[in-house]
Amino acid sequence: MVPIRSVPIEPGSLTYHDLPWIIEHREDRCTLCGQCTSVCPKECLHLTYRRQRMPNLDVLSSKRGSEYRTFVGIRQKTDMTHSCIGCGMCAMVCPNEAITPTLNTVENRTLFLNNQKGEAYKRGGRRNTSGPTLLDRIMFDRISMLTDPALDAGRHEFTVSTTLGRILSPEEYLKRKANGGWIPPTREIFPFVIGSMSFGALSPNMWLGLLQGVAYCNEVLGIPVVMCTGEGGCPPWVLKSPYLKYIILQIASGYFGWDEIIRAIPEMQCNPAAIEIKYGQGAKPGDGGLLMWYKVSELIARLRGVPEGVDLPSPPVHQTLYSIEESVMKMIQTLSMAFDHKVPVYPKISASTSAKSVLNNLVRNPYAGGLLIDGIDGGTGAAYNVSMDATGHPVASNVRECYLDLAAQGMQNEVPIYAAGGVGQNGNVAQNGMALVMLGASAVHIGKYIMQATAGCLGNEQNRCNVCNVGICPKGITSQNIKLYRRLDPDKVAQRVAETFMAIQTDVKKIMAPLGRSQSLPIGMSDAIGINDKDAADRLQIKYVC
């Protein structure tokens, strides 16, 4: 046996098949062009010198033995810092199909070591669970056929918009209209909203691309898409532009960016679509936003009014001198007032068993313009893995419960419920969204799906990529490093936004048409859906079908 000191083993030593992703490299195809090594965001590929035995098989010669050749090969590093994340950028750039990452289906031992230097594991992305989600399994099963024909999705006229903002009861509306009372502001929007992703979490090119795409959807395609800024403000030129009306400004516990916003109010050409007050987030309930120092560039620092290159963790709760209920009430009221009561203000909370009591508080608050419930499957740019994977509540039953609670009070949709978290996780964005609508949501927010569909985000629920937190996004979506984000062409993102929403709109019509619905979004049309899981059906109070 070799002496122990000559073998480089430490407690944290790994070999390549202990890693989550194993690189398969074909020496016979590789031309050593080096593109893979230079593109790899984790710098996990390196050139190695290898020695290969070449058996001497000349049968006519009496000379035997082997010859050796030395060659340069590509290998993956096996330390934690450089373990492959399976992003596949190497395969994407390789001109010779010589390299590809494959998922380690045997055992991933980095799971035990991703706490280096005492740091708990942080990442971006979503809860890592794969397979069809509950929403994927919901079927639209009430088809108009015999007594009335289904509609033609291609030729019929459909109203697929929804209302953003508080809706009064008809009695109250007429009363206020008669005596000149305040009618809460509302917007008619497309029911798929680009959910909050901050300027900071996203690269400038990504953000610009989204905004351009949203403007195109509204102004050219006539699809009234709106997007939310996330915490961290909004570039001043956008605040003063006519595009502000497509933007929901988010205020969160760090209040980043709000100095700029407040200062810009007198110069605003139009009102923002709405104000979202973030109290919680599905991916990391009980946590504030987290922008890690890698991403606090000069631009971001200026927008947020902070020094460059420092971690920006927002506190878990809003700072308040009041009780939480009072603070929520006051904050909603204050923000409504800041915009002259002309902009809907609604809170965002993480899905939770306590969502119903929040809702009931809002019902009594005349300024509350809705409630956004963000489920455990929501994505994020940065969070502790444990929060993402294990903390929170799935969105479907939470939304359903809240809707039924409002219905019991005869107030459904008066405080519209917006749902988020895992919509389109497996690509079925329109199906997932419409399932939530029929469970009682007035609209859904989509974030991760938008990154995937419009910018080619590589993340998935097998923990592929998901390094959005550290500023090395290989697609330039969530990085503030110009070398990375210049990979992303904003015009192309905008084009993808337009394509994506055109397709969602068609899909929505394709869902509504067979149900015989065209006049209004089928909110709460629970007779139209079924699921092949008895327990889920009971819980959601929908049909069990098999």
């Binding site: 007594t147 918009s161 009064l168 008809p170 007429l174 008669a178 006049q519 049309m525």
Partner: protein, 380 residues
């Protein structure tokens, strides 16, 4: 697919005329049920005072008949007239009903001087209490309406068969307004309460087609603090309740009904003289937007009759007639059968934006378009 017919005339006529129109439109429905509403009543053997509310329904057996009697007496109602149909039981093919009743009552003393609203509330409460009582006893008592000058009949079977069963051709009952619906069995099961027309506090409508937005609308109406919004054995019952809600609860004019069930699009409202008000109304009443295809035909307590289409207008209906007598039917041949001696070139088929209103004077019908100015001072 259901078939609908309504006739309204200054001179009372026999409901059998409308049943014959139903026969003319026979193709297209399966005769699983007939509903009939008469308003502006005249009885051959009784000088009816139109202030007396009439209780309409079916008692399945002696026991329920007795209970009904007792209940009404205890509640303080005085029976003024008990109409007896001349029954020809050879036309009966379902179960044998003990008694189809139309009974006129005088309201209890304590309601004599009370406000209209209280009296209307009491009539509805009584009807609902009786309905509940019937349901609690295995459905041995059905009550369709309880209202002054309104009679309702509902039965399973072909219209003419039901008419013959009750000898409606014998001239014992006549009315100035009569509407009937022959129902095709939809997926909600055969139940007498599921037969159109539906009725709540003097307001009645019937519909053909399917209302795919039924469940959310029903859920919302059930949440109103108004006991009359119940039942919902049929997806069309919500049309009646929305009309009631619009007129009685919101106290809006009849023209608003169309704006509630099929509001104009935001773009169209931009050009509307009262766009701002209507946009707000659309928002507030969004939960009542129907999704047809439907033609809604109805009558109001003052004998106004109306016809509105859903937005898709996949179910045309025709209105035609002459001064003093008008007919609305889901098929043209129905109008022909009811008023053959009219000028059919003046018939009208409303488009998606129209509400056809035949006012009580029956001089001419009004075509009101949603794009027109809305008759409400509030909205100005």
């Amino acid at each position: 697919m259901c078939r609908l017919a309504l006739k309204t005339a200054n001179e009372p006529f026999s409901p059998y005329e409308v049943l014959e129109a139903m026969e003319a439109m026979k193709e297209g429905y399966d005769g699983s049920g007939l509903g009939l509403l008469l308003r502006g009543l005249e009885f051959e053997d009784f000088k009816y005072n139109p202030r007396f509310p009439i209780l309409s329904g079916i008692a399945e057996n002696k026991k329920s008949w007795k209970r009904l009697d007792q209940f009404m007496e205890e509640r303080g109602y005085e029976l003024k007239y008990d109409h007896k149909f001349h029954m020809d039981r050879s036309h009966m093919d379902g179960k044998d009903r003990y008694r189809y009743f139309l009974r006129a009552y005088r309201m209890p003393e304590e309601f004599q001087g009370k406000a209209m609203e209280d009296r209307e509330g009491e009539l509805m409460q009584t009807r609902l209490a009786l309905r509940k009582d019937g349901e609690a006893h295995g459905g041995d008592l059905s009550v369709f309406s309880f209202w002054p000058d309104v009679a309702m009949i509902k039965e399973v079977g072909w219209p003419l068969q039901v008419g013959n069963l009750l000898s409606l051709h014998d001239g014992q009952i006549k009315s100035r307004v009569c509407m009937a619906q022959g129902r095709q069995n939809t997926n909600y099961g055969i139940n007498l309460y599921a037969c159109h027309p539906f009725f709540v506090q003097g307001i009645s409508t019937m519909t053909n087609g399917e209302n795919t937005a039924f469940v959310p609308i029903r859920d919302w109406l059930l949440g109103r603090p108004f006991e009359g919004y119940m039942g919902y054995q049929s997806d069309s019952e919500v049309f009646t309740h929305i009309l009631h809600y619009t007129l009685k609860q919101l106290k809006l004019p009849l023209q608003a009904y169309k704006h509630v069930i099929t509001p104009l699009s935001l773009k169209e409202l931009e050009a509307h003289p009262q766009g701002d008000f209507l946009r707000g109304l659309r928002n507030a009443c969004k939960r009542l937007i129907i999704d047809g295809p439907n033609a809604v035909i109805g009558t109001l307590p003052d004998e106004t009759c109306l016809l509105v289409m859903d937005h898709k207008k996949l179910r045309p209906s025709t209105v035609g007639g002459r001064e003093g007598v008008w007919a609305i039917a889901s098929e043209m041949c129905g109008v022909d059968a009811m008023i053959p001696d009219r000028d059919p070139s003046l018939d009208f088929q409303p488009m998606r934006e129209h509400t056809v209103i035949i006012p009580p004077d029956r001089k001419e019908f009004e075509i009101w378009s949603q794009f027109d100015q809305f008759p409400l001072s509030l909205a100005a």
